[in-house]
Structures are given as C-alpha cells and as structure tokens.
C-alpha cells in the first residue's frame, strides 16, 4: 500500500482574503450597479473638458431657458437646454459633477482623518481618552450639522473652501463612533495581545495590527459620508449658502432651478436626478461593501 498518491491534507489552501473579497464584490449586484453609475459620473467629471459641448460659464442672455432636446423647442445644440443665463445645461452638469464629487471626497477625507484618529484613540486607549472622545461625540451629535454649518457659512461667507472645511470639521462623528467600536473589538482580539507580547510599540500596533482590520467599516463609513457631504452641500446650496456661482455644483443647480419648478420643471429635475443617481450609487456601493465585508457573510 505504498505507491499511491494521497492528496496531502495540508494542500487545501483556499483563496486569499483579497481574492475572496474580489469574488464577492463581483457577485454583489448592489456594488456592481453602484460602481457602474459612480464610474460613469466620475468619468463624466474627469472628461468634462473633453466631452462638454460648450463652455459651462459662457452666457448667452438671448438664449435663456432653452428646453431640452426631447421637448418642443429643444435642439441638439443644447441637448439638455440652457439655464436662466443661457449657459449650456449639459456642460454645466458635467462640470458640476467635478464640484460635487470634489466636495464629497474632500470632506470625507478631512472628516475621515479627524474621526478615525479620535475613534481609534478612544477605542484603543479607553479610559480617559475614551471619556473625552465620547464627550466630544455627544457634543457633536447634539448640534444639528445643518444648523451649525449654515451659521458658520453665513457668517464666514460661503465658498467652496469654506463649505468643504466646515463640513469636514463637522462630519467626523460617524467615523469616530464606528472606528471606536471597531477598534474596541479588534483590540480585544488575541493577535493584538500577541503583537503586544512580542514587544511591538503602541504606534506599531495601531498602524499594523489595528488599522488594517478596521479598514472595512472605515471604507463603508467613508462612502456613506461622501454621500452625506454631497447631500449637505446640496442643502446648503439650496438655502443659498453653498458653493459660489458661477461654479456649478449640482446642489447649486437645483437651487437655481428652484425658481422654475412649477413651469420649467426639467431645470430642477435634471440636476436632481443626477444628484439622486450619485447618492444612490454611493449608497449602493457603501451598503454593498458593508454586506460584502460583513462577518456573517464569511462562509
């Protein structure tokens, strides 16, 4: 009974975590839909200078409020018509994508850094650090973001930078909350104890043991916060305190289209739908990533 080949038991090596994740992402409908929409929007934003049929800032007061091509009076010169100052709506939408995406990502980056540092510190060190961070979170949560950002923007004066900074400084709460609990969970795991017992410095433990393992929730929160920031900027713009014209953010376009709601509804519906699609895509993506990385989905 010697010369037979038995597959070595140890040979059963499954896919790496990365491979499995990729496979699950590909298999997840929400993620794919979200990713495709988002990719289209991002492409639109990046390629705006090449694709846009007109300059988004060139006005033509004699050619105001041209309806989109599919309605009476529309033409292919301005496929989505023109706005109240005769600017090409499609071109503005494309450049608007740049602004809205920039706001979303820049804000998420700023607040992400603040929130993650706070959350990880609280979760890892516990004790007084945790008390302070929890207190700050409570303070932050008890102030309505929109109210505070309105106040600040109204007082400081609104501009792209101000909006991004203000939202960035305000939207860290969810990061902090999620990172705190994720860190607490990871921190109690044995591999952290093992690293500690191996003599790793606190810094090294935080960076190489904790951070990589709280990445999943971090990504989920980050995507959702991008959506949150875009939405808030739209609300600020709606109330007249978002980015400054002639920069075309989608929120601002909705706000400008507001005056035409009842009679030229497309002026508000088109950017509204774009914004909706963007938020939908980001949310689908975020939810999907949450699903895909959720522990109950491991099998």
């Amino acid at each position: 009974m010697a010369a037979i080949t038995i597959p070595a038991a140890e040979d059963i090596v499954g896919p790496t975590p990365g491979q499995r994740l990729r496979k699950r992402i590909i298999g997840h409908r929400g993620v794919m839909i979200g990713a495709v929409i988002l990719a289209i929007i991002v492409l639109m934003a990046l390629l705006a200078p090449l694709l846009a049929p007109h300059d988004p800032y060139t006005q033509n007061l004699g050619n105001r409020i041209v309806p989109p091509v599919w309605t009476d009076g529309g033409s292919w010169v301005h496929p989505l018509g023109t706005d109240g100052l005769g600017r090409d709506y499609l071109s503005r939408l494309m450049y608007g994508a740049q602004i809205s995406l920039f706001i979303g990502f820049a804000t998420a980056l700023i607040s992400g850094v603040i929130g993650t540092v706070m959350g990880v510190a609280a979760g890892y060190f516990g004790g007084r650090v945790d008390l302070v961070v929890t207190f700050l979170i409570t303070c932050r949560l008890s102030m309505p973001v929109i109210l505070v950002s309105l106040a600040v923007v109204a007082l400081v004066g609104s501009s792209l930078t101000v909006v991004v900074m203000v939202l960035g400084v305000l939207l860290w709460d969810r990061y902090a909350v999620v990172m705190r609990s994720a860190t607490m969970q990871v921190r109690s795991l044995d591999y952290v104890a093992a690293a500690s017992a191996a003599g790793c410095s606190t810094w090294r433990i935080l960076v190489s043991e904790i951070l990589p393992n709280v990445m999943n929730p971090l990504i989920v929160v980050a995507t959702l916060e991008v959506a949150h920031a875009v939405l808030l900027e739209a609300a600020l713009s709606f109330l007249g305190l978002g980015v400054q014209p002639p920069l075309p953010s989608w929120g601002l376009m909705i706000s400008e289209g507001k005056d035409y709601l009842l009679f030229e509804a497309w002026l508000i519906t088109i950017p509204g739908i774009c914004l909706f699609a963007l938020l939908l895509a980001i949310n689908l993506l975020g939810d999907g990533v949450r699903d895909v990385t959720a522990p109950e989905n491991r099998s």
């Binding site: 007061l61 109240g84 609104s158 007249g240 014209p245 400008e256 005056d259 709601l261 009842l262």
Partner: protein, 479 residues
C-alpha cells in the same frame, strides 16, 4: 378670498412686531400705512400734500411748521385723537433714547408744542427741505394707550387711526387686519375689503402654489420668469410695477490698497463700458425695468439723466484698461447679496474684458460691514431710498461723507451739504445735477437699472400698485 371678503396675502419675511417705529423693514412701512395715519398725506399719484390728521398747515420759517389738528378722529380703541397725542408722538420721536429704529424720518425733530386747542407747532433742528415729506411718514400714536402698554404692548396690540386696525398679531407668523368702521373721512378713502390676513411664507414656490390654489389672493416679488409663465397660465393676474429701488455697482474709488486699479478713473470708466446693462435688462430683468445712467431713481426730485453715459462697449473698455496700465485686466472680488443671476451676468461681462472677479455672495449686513471697512473693491448693491421721492434719500448717504461713501470726493460732499441746507428747490436741483454729473464723469458707480416688482394677484382682485412699493390695500376691491 372674495367669498369671505378676506384678502389673504403672503410675505416672505417674518414681521417681528407691528410697532411701526420699531421695524425698519418694508413690511413695517406697509403696516404703518394701514394702521396709522400721519398729519399730512401725500398722494402717490400726484405727489400733492393733502390734509389728513391735520386739516391745515403753515410753514412759519425754515425750521418751524404749525398745523391745525382734525377734530372727531377716533383711535382704534375708541379714544379720540387730540393735539396732545400729536405733541406726545413728536416729542417721543425727538427723544434720543427712545430706542426707536426708524430714525431717518424723525431725527430732524427738535420739539413739538401745543399752541392752541387744536394747533401744534413743530420745530426742526436744522433747515429740513423734506420736512413735509417726513411728516407724511410719521403716524400719530395714542398718548394714553402708549404710555400704558409701552412699545412691546404696541407691537402686539397696535392702536392707530388708520383705515385698518390689527386684530391679531402672531409675531413672525401672521397678522390680521380688519377695516376700521369709524375711520374718518380721510383723503385715503374708506377701505373696501373687510379683512386682511397676512402670512409669512418664505418659499416663493409655495407662495405661488398657494396663490394658484386660491388659498392666497396677493403675493409680490415674484421672479420675472415665473411671473410671465404664471400669467400665461391664466390662473392669476400679474402686475409689473416700478419701484424706487435702483441697482448699482459701487466701486471703491478712494479706499483699498494704494495700487488698487479701481483708484484709476479710466478703470472705473472701463467697467462702466464693460457691463451690458441694456442686455441684462432686456433679457434677464425685463418687465418695465429701465436702464439708468445716474446715481438716482429717475422720478426722484433732483435726479437727472443729463450726465456722461457709458454705452456697452467692451472694446472701448479694453482700450481704457490698457491705457490705465491693465492691458490684461486684473483680478478682483465682487460682493453681492441678492439677484444672483444678474450678478453672474455682470461677472461674465467683466470677465469678457479681462477683469476676473470672484463672486462673494453673502448677507447684506456682512457685505455692508466689509464695505464700510474699505475691504470691498466692487459691490453690487441696490438702494430703495425708503420710498422717498427725492435724491436726498440717496446721494448724501453714498456721496456725502458718511461711512458708505467710497468716493470720498470732497467737492461732491460740499455740493450735497449745500443742497441739504436750503429750501430753494431750484438751487437744490442745480447742486444735485452738478453732483450727479461729477459722479458719472468720475464713474464712482456703475448705475444699472431700476427694479420692478411683480405682483401676482387672484383674478377676482382689483389692485393698483404704486412705485413706492407700498401696497395700499384700502384701495383694493373685489371685482
């Protein structure tokens, strides 16, 4: 609606209270005109002064006027209106520490005294050319009641002698007016509509929807595009009416950094040439808005169009800029607080001649603060002259050396001062003309256009607006 003889109107701003001397807003002025009568009434159509609570008057000298007070007029609470009430009101207004906000019409008063049973003498601090005009704006308060309830009480339960009395005040939310049954035989005429209910609705779309669905009868300040389309829908009537408000770009000609391009006359003139006011008015503002060339509302006393004009001419603008040493233009900032589309249009006009301006869009107060600190290169502003039909309500404020004076032109300041201290109307006119010509020549401003207001009213309502932006509901009727 017509059915319940109630006129439902909406404003977009909250009315803090109904005490006319403690509210400087447009709405306060409107309320004041309905609830309080002044001694004299100025006919908005002709500009003539007519007897109201005073039956006759006599200008004694430069600073003094005597008035005969009408008999048998009742306040809304039933008390009779007497000369004592008049004296009390004027003296109250003359007190520096009374806390009232609306001082423009009252800070000329030195004192008032009773000089006969029904005769009152009012003395001014200085020569006051517009004294009569101011008197028409000062409603008479009931002495007894006001002493009793104070300013706050007055704000919540106002009492006057006007054609409408206020029956309910919910600060910021709604006001209810009722036609005053005992209204005297005033030149204003008796009110026709029984009740007026005012509500605050901040969102214009909501206002329009409420109007279209019959829950409102009267709204105003409807954007031009929306107004045109509403009119076309036939659901409501639209009236486009003039106002005293004019728009302008204030150029910081004297302040700012030493090398500020705006200190150069040529640059300012270039800006004047660069802006296509005509195009903006024709395509964007529309209605009956007119292009203006001087720093005042054309119908105001003292206003003249006989000044240097700057037709739209980008090429010339560029040439002027080049002459001034800015062949490639320059970067600057444009402050603005309303009418975003118009400002964006001007921004693009400026950009076309090489002036790249950032738009700093903010609150009025913030803009004005910055302006007074000299931080603002160009501000896009408007001025409504408090509905006063005289350039005295505009020129001294912006060119008379007050904080809003960016030109700081001592010559102009001198002329304006002279004009303010004489009662000789021709002389005033000449002085104002001189000032306006210099202002235009120096291009301290870019005067743009007059503002108009769109009133949207229900088809059953008969309403005539006036240029001073004071709707007079006592003249409104159901059709």
């Amino acid at each position: 609606g017509k059915a319940d003889d109630t006129l439902n109107i909406a404003w977009d701003v909250e009315v803090p209270n109904a005490n006319m001397y403690f509210d400087t807003s447009r709405n306060g002025v409107i309320i004041a005109h309905h609830v309080w009568d002044a001694l004299v009434w100025r006919d908005p159509a002709t500009g003539d002064f007519k007897p109201a609570l005073a039956t006759a008057w006599n200008v004694v000298n430069d600073k003094t006027i005597e008035l005969e007070i009408r008999q048998g007029v009742k306040f809304h609470n039933g008390d009779p209106m007497t000369a004592d009430d008049v004296v009390y009101t004027y003296n109250y207004l003359a007190q520096p520490d009374n806390g009232i906000l609306n001082r423009n019409f009252s800070n000329w008063i030195a004192k008032a005294e009773k000089v006969g049973d029904n005769k009152v003498r009012i003395t001014a601090k200085d020569t006051t050319p517009l004294m009569m005009l101011y008197i028409t704006e000062l409603g008479i308060y009931p002495e007894k009641y006001y002493k009793e309830v104070g300013p706050d009480g007055m704000g919540l339960k106002p009492v006057g002698t006007g054609p409408y009395k206020i029956t309910a005040v919910e600060p910021g939310k709604r006001l209810e007016f009722e036609a005053f049954a005992d209204y005297y035989d005033s030149p204003k005429g008796k009110p026709s509509i029984k009740k007026i209910v005012q509500r605050t609705i901040p969102e214009m779309n909501t206002q329009v929807v409420e109007l279209a669905s019959g829950r409102l009868d009267w709204i105003w300040r409807v954007p031009q595009d929306q107004a045109e389309r509403l009119e076309k829908s036939g659901r409501v009537q639209i009236i486009n009416a003039d106002t005293f408000r004019v728009g302008y770009l204030a150029l910081n000609a004297a302040g700012g950094p030493e090398d500020s391009p705006l200190r150069k006359q040529k640059v300012r003139q270039a800006i004047n040439h660069a802006i296509d006011v005509e195009g903006i008015v024709k395509n964007l503002v529309r209605g009956s808005s007119q292009v203006i060339h001087s720093a005042c509302y054309p119908e105001q006393f003292g206003c003249t169009d006989d000044v240097k004009k700057y037709p739209y001419d980008p090429a010339k603008a560029k040439a002027l800029l080049a002459e001034a040493g800015y062949p490639n233009g320059f970067n600057t900032t444009l402050y603005a607080y309303r009418d975003r589309p118009q400002n964006e249009a001007m921004l693009s006009n400026l950009a076309a001649v090489g002036i790249k301006a950032d738009l700093r869009y903010g609150q009025y107060a913030a803009t004005r603060d910055a302006l007074r600190k000299g931080e603002v290169p160009i501000a896009s502003l408007t001025w409504g002259s408090n509905s006063v039909p005289d350039v005295d309500a505009i020129l001294p404020i912006f060119f008379g050396g007050l904080p809003d004076d960016l030109a700081k032109d001592t010559e102009v300041q001198g002329w304006l001062k002279d004009a303010a201290s004489t009662l000789d109307q021709d002389k005033r006119k000449a002085l104002y003309k001189q000032a306006l010509q210099k202002i235009a020549e120096q291009a301290y401003w870019v005067p743009t256009f007059t503002y108009t207001t769109n009133y949207a009213i229900s088809n059953t309502l008969d309403f005539k607006p006036t240029a001073d932006e004071i709707p007079r509901f006592w003249t409104a009727k159901w059709k």
